[in-house]
Symmetry: C2
């Protein structure tokens, strides 16, 4: 059984740790043979110091250097696609097709390439120049970034290849990737690509590093270490708030994606017009990838009436008939089952499912629950327990006022969707819901399920706590997601030869967008200024 | 003795509190006659609920509505300038001329008017439209904002008239102003102007509210209340971190400006060229307003040698000879003296000053201290104790390596300044310092003292913790400071009649800057899209 090394300071080196762990094949529930280390604190500290040196080494580099690295990285991932798909399938149980091979892997390399484009372009930094006062500012690298990847996206959110990694690098920062324990082999392959890309594009040692696992208290030490600039974390709320507290205490920016149940309103007029289509969309969205999406529709809000009963009847039938998928791990199975039990304990009734098993390996029946609006309002906190996986709770409100009362009880979420009639009959209710819901979700959707996160500039994969740690930022979409890993750097009366290229009078690329004396422009600073 | 009411839900109403406090004239150390209430929690909660209703009432309003309010506010402050100057002079001891009348009050109305311009223009919201996916996003109001004003700027940072107030309103949010206990009368006059402006421009009740003081635990309850969207705080580090912890625990954005000692490097070549000019600038910057600026140069870093000794000799002489100003309060006097004692205890020696008294009322001698670079590095935490007021510590490093070691020990600051030779002789050392200093300060200056914060778009009045709570944001400058009080709001497939005007195909003003399909433009969305 191979004991795998860690990637520190430009070298794959044996871990000095004494503890090792193995991934588990979720479809067989058997451990996989490879051994991965739990890094002791001294190893984490080595990585921090190496990252600090790397940050100094790349200081002042143009965005194109980081772009070359990111693009090389994407190319190497493409080359190793077959290995990556096989390994991720083994470790996560996610389907090879279309999920891993045709959806997530291309999305991941696309993200890396979009990040490269943003880095090369440089406009993400929002260079701002006021010539009368000769003050100039832009967003600049915040310093080494630790990225904690989640279990549910082995590539697209991976600590050493995903969106946070891409954004942190595009801003010019070294990354310390923290793998997720459920897919260390996938993470290793991605780190090999990142390391190879770093060597090929002459990045300094310590620019990309990988640690598979640390003790819990070392995680808190890592995120509060003086050498670290910022943290990206995607994962469970319980582990996330521990890291958040440690980082907050020392004023370190930490961007978290925690939990979200993504309320979906299905208004009566929409059901009257198109029940079957909505059932199709809901069942597909909720059960896809065994429901293991951050934007999984975990809460459906409806108004009592015959169309809602018909919707529930059809949905229940479809949930019961659909094949049961494999869950990512024993922990996911346990948490999902516990979440369902919490909902039941607090007044939800099972329409179908509710027990573990039913699929290959770790699994839980496709589960649909129902609760009254009155009960939801009375016990709002427990009834927003996230049951992460192939499960959803339908709230049936007795009247419109109760729909609004339910809405007022909602915690922060990544998304909120509203299906309404095309004939305008739901418009008044829509307006009342949206007035409250808008402040509680990062992305408001119409007539669409929330799964499917387009990687475009206008995307917001964020939202108020506890969906994320700060509602002003998005984890997906370029260039916006890059700015999380930046600090605002102002230059007051700084001599022109000492300014970063983006703040000098001449536009360094001719295409960089800058705000000069109040207006966005791609031109040079007008002659006679500065 | 008048007992003053609080401003809640559109009414000046008697406080239900039983406790009252009085301001103190710092020049006489005598209490002033007016009584101001300490609000009980029920009163704070009334304000929160009223603010929540106001936020709903202004939902969807165009920026021009908020602009009208802000401009009316500025106009009313101008009208009452004489009263405001007299009152602030009485309560703070700050000089009438030029400080209060010619500098701070015009800056304050200028900020309100710049915020109005930003609100009317709307470009601060960075509307982003992708037509292929029909996803659109922009920054939108975060919800009611509580603004805690500091002691040292009775107007420009006041909770009911200052920069945070202006930014929060420009983003479309109601504000609950929390006055500072040292100048309640000034705050009352500003709140009267804000209330009058709110009535004149038909803002809803609860859009601007004022509380003078709360119990400490009620402050923490306020900042973590579900009805609140965000918090702006300027003040002491000790009180700030308590509020920060309460807000962080519930994931509420809190923007803090805490403490900053603003290192100023004076390199040998600069001294050789222009000692007298640098002495002039330093003495004036450090003693102006009795040193009570967030950007006061509290730490000077020099290299040992005869020019530095001459600089110290001249500076010491000037500090000793300069009139001693009045401090804002007994608390400031006490903290300044305690700060100086801490520095002395940890190895700094007094060149001049060090005792309380010497000026009218609350005061402390103009104080200059000296410490070796070696000692600073050894005891870096204590030797960065903020001695807020007319005091500064000069670090004399024995060589260039020690200058860099000192730099590595610096905590986060608002500013960092470097004076270097015009003939290029300091350039190598400048580069080594800047490489480290850049990551530790929000604003890097050349050949300039840090006091004097221009209100321009490129300003950064921010910096890494403990200077502020998040290095990505600035508290001064429009439009950037507005975005602190906003959340990212994305619209995915939302029907066009339901979109905010700024995201509809037609550019609502013809001058709004939006990022459409990747490029900044003031045009409409091209026909055939969306």
């Amino acid at each position: 059984m191979t004991k795998h090394p860690v990637l520190i300071d430009g070298q794959w080196r044996p871990s000095t740790g004494q503890q090792f762990f193995q991934a588990v094949n979720p479809r067989t529930t058997e451990p996989l043979p490879e051994q991965y280390p739990v890094s002791p604190w001294s190893e984490v500290e080595d990585a921090l110091h190496a990252a600090e040196r790397a940050a100094q080494a790349v200081r002042g580099w143009s965005g194109s250097r980081f772009a070359e690295f990111l693009e090389t990285c994407a190319g190497l991932i493409d080359e190793r696609a077959a290995d990556l798909v096989a390994m991720a399938h083994l470790e996560t149980g996610l389907p090879v097709q279309p999920r891993l091979k045709e959806a997530e892997l291309p999305r991941t390399t696309n993200q890396l390439r979009q990040a490269a484009t943003a880095a090369r372009d440089g406009s993400w930094a929002e260079a701002t120049i006021d010539t009368a006062s000769n003050i100039r500012s832009m967003l600049g690298p915040v310093g080494p970034v630790a990225v904690f990847g989640p279990n549910n996206f082995p590539y697209a959110y991976n600590g050493i290849a995903g969106g946070d990694f891409a954004g942190a690098v595009a801003a010019g920062n070294p990354v310390i990737g923290k793998g997720h324990s459920s897919h260390p082999g996938t993470t290793r392959l991605l780190a090999e690509a990142a390391h190879q890309a770093a060597v090929a594009t002459k990045m300094p040692n310590g620019f990309v590093q990988l640690i598979y696992r640390t003790g819990h208290s070392d995680g808190a030490k890592l995120v509060s270490h003086p050498a670290l600039g910022a943290i990206g974390y995607t994962g469970s709320r319980s582990a996330g708030v521990v890291l958040k507290e440690a980082a907050d205490r020392v004023g370190k920016p930490i961007y978290l994606e925690l939990s979200s149940i993504n309320p979906v309103y299905i208004l009566p007029g929409a059901l009257a017009e198109r029940t079957a289509a909505i059932v199709d969309q809901f069942v597909s969205s909720c059960l896809m990838a065994t429901g293991q999406f951050c934007t999984n529709p975990g809460l459906i809000i409806t108004l009592a009436g015959p169309t809602t009963e018909e919707f529930l009847r059809q949905t229940t039938e479809r949930f019961a008939a659909a094949p049961v998928g494999t869950l990512l791990s024993e922990g996911v199975q346990k948490n999902l089952h516990a979440g369902i039990q919490t909902l039941v304990k607090h007044g939800a009734t099972l329409l179908t499912g509710g027990s573990t098993g039913g699929g290959a390996g770790f699994s839980c029946q496709n589960t649909l629950l129902r609760v009254s609006g009155e009960r939801f309002v009375r016990d709002w906190e427990a009834l927003q327990t996230e049951a992460f996986g192939n499960s959803s709770l339908v709230v049936v409100a007795s009247n419109e006022a109760e729909v609004l009362a339910v809405t007022r009880c909602l915690e922060g979420n990544l998304t909120g969707s509203v299906y309404s009639a095309n004939d305008g009959s739901d418009d008044k209710l829509y307006e009342s819901i949206a007035a409250i819901l808008r402040q509680k979700v990062g992305r408001l959707l119409n007539d669409k399920m929330p799964t499917g996160v387009a990687v475009v500039a206008s995307m917001n994969h964020g939202g108020p706590f506890p969906a994320t740690g700060h509602s002003g930022f998005t984890a997906v979409g370029f260039p916006a997601s890059v700015r999380r890993f930046a600090m605002l750097q102002c230059y007051d009366n700084v001599r022109s030869n000492r300014l970063p290229a983006s703040l000098q009078n001449k536009n360094p690329t001719g295409s960089l967008w800058r705000r000069i004396n109040g207006a966005w422009t791609q031109a040079d600073v007008p002659a006679g200024n500065g």
